[in-house]
């Protein structure tokens, strides 16, 4: 908006990110991607370029903004294989922001992240920086999920239309109204193909009090802290995995070597099954992980132990770096971490959308991991 904007937050309350924070966020978002979420690398490059040009990435706690402030979430949509060849223009998100402000005839006060896992952890930061806005320290998944309707905002009643989708050519598409979140997802996917396989999508603004209540809290702070812990542990040659567990209330549930990986197609999704043979304290045990974009189900000796929406994270035993589903290969030595998801993903309402049944496992009942024992950060 060209006219002077009345700030709905105290500028002293923002945390301005540094280059080191971005490096940590890349790793932390990779870990919270639970195997999926896309590679944050190109997003980080765009963020670094914006930083060099003088834009600031400002993160703001969800309770540090006026309750009626307008907040807009944004994320990338499209095929990752196209995205590595046809790079983004860089200001698609900013054009979404301006188009939304025109559409609703009101300024947006802050940006929101849909998923803190993978590439979409960084996309909204760049938009916020270019637009001069803070990004709220929360997200709609606390991890990565494959589809738009799987955010806590959608699950708890926010209708994501009207939405705005912008591509690198300058096309602006407005979805005025979708009768359901699934319809919205379906129409947006069809449109992105016409746009060349990649675009940015901003969803209908929410009021800050709604975001505060239904967003997964402190996502950026947590993702950065996780990445920092890995970087620091590697520097002083301590166990990075223990550092991640200490921060996230997670626990290492298995140490194993990948002994088999089967991939196949089911209902249009590339799904897979991973088999692990235990070592160290897990010698003699076997484990399996079911995959669909992300790691969904963990079984030990054939028995289900952890299921989506709780987080199943695979880390390289030696480096602590996250292993994504496309990196999996025979012989890798991995640590499996189980991290309790936020309570917002555990309600009956949420489990309908993000529980085992929603991913094609109607026979499996979600049995929650014990709640996280978080250390004071």
């Amino acid at each position: 908006m060209p006219e002077a904007r009345k700030l709905k937050y105290d500028e002293a309350a923002v945390r301005t990110l540094t280059v080191e924070d971005l490096d940590a966020l890349e790793i932390g978002a990779g870990i919270l991607g639970t195997g999926g979420g896309g590679n944050p690398y190109q997003g980080k490059l765009l963020a670094l370029e914006a930083m060099k040009a003088g834009y600031e990435m400002k993160v703001l706690a969800t309770d540090q903004i006026e309750p009626d402030a307008l907040c807009m979430s944004i994320g990338g949509i499209g095929a990752p294989v196209v995205g590595v060849e046809r790079l983004r223009e860089g200001r698609e998100g900013l054009r979404c922001l301006r188009a939304m402000e025109d559409l609703i005839r009101a300024p947006i006060d802050a940006m929101v992240c849909e998923e803190i896992g993978g590439a979409n952890a960084i996309n909204p930061l760049v938009t916020a920086a270019l637009g001069g806005l803070p990004i709220l320290d929360c997200d709609g998944m606390g991890r990565a999920f494959p589809e738009m309707q799987m955010t806590t905002f959608s699950i708890y009643g926010h209708s994501s239309t009207p939405s705005v989708m912008c591509d690198l050519h300058g096309n602006v598409v407005i979805f005025s109204h979708a009768v359901s979140e699934v319809w919205h997802e379906r129409m947006a996917r069809a449109c992105v193909v016409a746009q060349g396989g990649g675009a940015m999508l901003a969803t209908a603004p929410m009021q800050a009090h709604f975001v505060h209540r239904y967003g997964i809290p402190k996502s950026y702070t947590k993702a950065i802290a996780i990445g920092e812990a890995v970087i620091k542990a590697r520097k002083v040659q301590e166990d990075p995995i223990a550092a991640v567990c200490a921060l996230e209330g997670g626990r290492r549930i298995f140490n194993g070597k990948i002994t088999d990986l089967k991939r196949h197609l089911r209902g249009g999704f590339a799904v897979g099954d991973l088999e692990l043979a235990g070592f160290d304290d897990c010698v003699g045990q076997t484990a399996g992980v079911a995959i669909q974009n992300e790691f969904l189900i963990f079984r030990r000796n054939g028995k289900v132990e952890v299921t989506v929406p709780d987080l199943i994270v695979l880390l390289d035993v030696d480096t602590g770096y996250p292993i994504t589903t496309e990196m999996l290969r025979y012989g890798q030595r991995v640590a499996v971490l189980a991290v309790p998801c936020h309570d917002l993903l555990r309600s009956a309402q949420a489990l309908e959308v993000v529980g085992p049944k929603a991913f094609g496992y109607p026979e499996i009942t979600f049995s929650p991991l014990p709640p996280a024992v978080r250390q004071a950060a």
């Binding site: 190109q42 914006a50 590595v84 046809r86 200001r91 060349g196």
Partner: protein, 518 residues
């Protein structure tokens, strides 16, 4: 007729003579600063050792780390124009955006972004801005740049804009070498572009190096053609290297793996090449190293060359063995080339992995008496640690649970136990010069890797057939015998999230070099 293989490594230059698939002789010489005198020394030594008539050498194959080292050491790189066709795509990420500052400065940081490029389905992303190319040509003349690299979005689908840009540049800058990204790398713009830029910056060095190798051979009285090995284990005619030096990157590990396959006759195995400081471990499949699927880092720059999937650990014959609070640590520090002065078994003062091998009775080098005083628990613990390190990287390099043999090559391979986990270890004759053997037996390849649109009656099968025909044509043009060609890689990947019409197809064929009977 004979074949001579030469491997120019960082420390040693190895040479072998092959006749009818038999190694007649293998020698090691020191690599020299000027490279050529080391090559001549190794050549003379191996000709003497094998007693052959040098007039009967049919071909010389050279593996070299020269171009990789140039980038790692930031030497001999020229300033180039880096031109990307694709605006508005990528506007926020200019060419060389993720390069370390020092190497970006060395190639001059002359990045240009121009309207152009294609979409995944072959549509134009933007029409090519030819006026802008003419303007850049003027800039190249004014700045006196030595070469240009052109990268177009989705040039794997349509190369017309890269070709057109090259024509315009050469029309306005006669004689300017122009590298097109479609000839260099694969799908993935930033990495392919970086590879093309690096290639352009190494063209003068390539020219000088190939000329120097040629002179060294003439000086040794050898007049046959010579070839340089590529990172996929196949050969490039010397003249082709003048245009594509980057394709030699990381050919060393490939040569040692191919040499290991040749020396043992085994086509599916894990190969461990143990040097003085590090060990390289990779998987052989059908006699060729498995290729890396991810980007590969060269001197801090992300590229997507065809590279072997090799995993390195800091464990070699010279690795220091240190006892500390939480047990025994072996490597990554090493005495390196000073092994024969510093190791205990050679009368030195440093406890190395080689000493452990000697003390535990695994190897017989130096003086066993010098290591008999080592405490037994220390020797056992260190030997166990070395075995565990080797086992972990062998496991990591395996491609399936099917048991395959482990082939040990390289000067430091005395460290290898006779079994690793459930796998047998084989140490072939001439293991120490496996690199040079790999160079001597290299084949010729042809490859296609691009996206096909399966429309207008084109099926997956017909697209694969077209790709295979293209790959065969390329191999024959490079000197392969048509009747020996076989397909070693053939894969198709439908592009996810998109309508089923776009499929990426990758076909690679290899064959024996024609023209002689070695």
């Amino acid at each position: 007729m004979y074949r001579v293989g030469i491997d120019v490594g960082g420390t040693n230059t190895d040479a072998v003579v092959l006749h009818a698939k038999k190694v007649l002789a293998g020698v090691k010489a020191s690599t020299t600063e000027d490279v050529t005198s080391g090559v001549i020394e190794a050549l003379e030594a191996v000709i003497t050792a094998s007693g052959i008539d040098r007039q009967r050498i049919a071909a010389v194959m050279i593996g070299t780390t020269h171009f990789t080292n140039a980038v790692i050491e930031r030497r001999h790189m020229e300033e180039v124009a880096a031109i990307r066709l694709g605006l508005p795509s990528g506007a926020g990420l200019p060419p060389m955006v993720d390069w370390p500052d020092d190497v970006r400065e060395i190639v001059g940081n002359h990045g240009y972004q121009v309207r152009g490029g294609y979409e995944f389905d072959g549509r134009e992303l933007s029409p090519l801005d030819e006026d802008e190319i003419v303007r850049i040509a003027g800039d190249i003349r004014a700045k006196g740049l030595k070469a240009a690299a052109v990268t177009c979005v989705f040039s794997g689908i349509n190369d017309a804009m890269e070709v057109r840009t090259k024509d315009i540049l050469q029309q306005h800058c006669p004689g300017l070498p122009v590298v097109m990204s479609k000839d260099i790398g694969r799908h993935g713009l930033l990495a392919r572009e970086s590879a093309a830029i690096m290639n352009a910056s190494l063209l003068s060095l390539a020219d000088r190096t190939v000329a120097a190798f040629g002179k060294a051979l003439v000086a040794a009285g050898i007049t046959c053609p010579f070839y340089i090995t590529q990172n996929d284990g196949t050969l490039m005619a010397a003249d082709v290297v003048r245009a594509f030096p980057v394709l030699t990157f990381a050919s060393g590990p490939t040569n040692s793996m191919r040499g290991a396959a040749f020396l043992t006759g085994i086509k599916d195995a894990v190969v461990v090449d143990v040097g003085g400081t590090t060990s390289d471990v990779g998987s052989l499949s059908h006699g060729f190293p498995r290729q890396a699927s991810m980007t590969v880092d060269i001197g801090g720059v992300r590229t997507n060359f065809r590279m072997p999937d090799v995993f390195s650990i800091g464990l070699g014959g010279g690795s220091l063995v240190v006892q500390c609070d939480n047990g025994i640590v072996v490597g990554p520090k090493s005495v390196g080339y000073r092994l024969r002065q510093d190791a205990l078994c050679f009368g030195g003062k440093t406890l190395t992995a080689t000493d452990i091998a000697v003390a535990s009775g695994k190897a017989d080098v130096g003086e066993k008496a010098f290591v008999t005083s080592l405490a037994r628990p220390l020797v056992d613990a260190a030997a166990a640690k070395i075995n565990a390190m080797l086992e972990a990287c062998v496991e990591r390099s395996r491609i399936s649970s099917t048991p395959v043999p482990v082939i040990a090559v390289g000067g430091g391979s005395i460290l290898m136990p006779n079994r690793i986990g459930e796998l047998d270890v084989i140490r072939p004759e001439n293991f120490a010069v496996a690199n040079a053997v790999g160079a001597a037996i290299a084949q010729i390849s042809g490859e296609t890797d691009r996206v096909f649109s399966l429309i207008d009656g084109r099926t997956r099968e017909s697209a694969l057939a077209v790709a295979e025909a293209e790959a065969r044509e390329k191999a024959i043009a490079a000197g392969a015998l048509a009747e020996t060609l076989e397909v070693i890689e053939r894969e198709d990947t439908p592009l996810a999230y998109l309508p089923g019409n776009a499929t990426r197809i990758h076909v690679k064929v290899v064959g024996e070099m024609g023209g002689h009977d070695a």
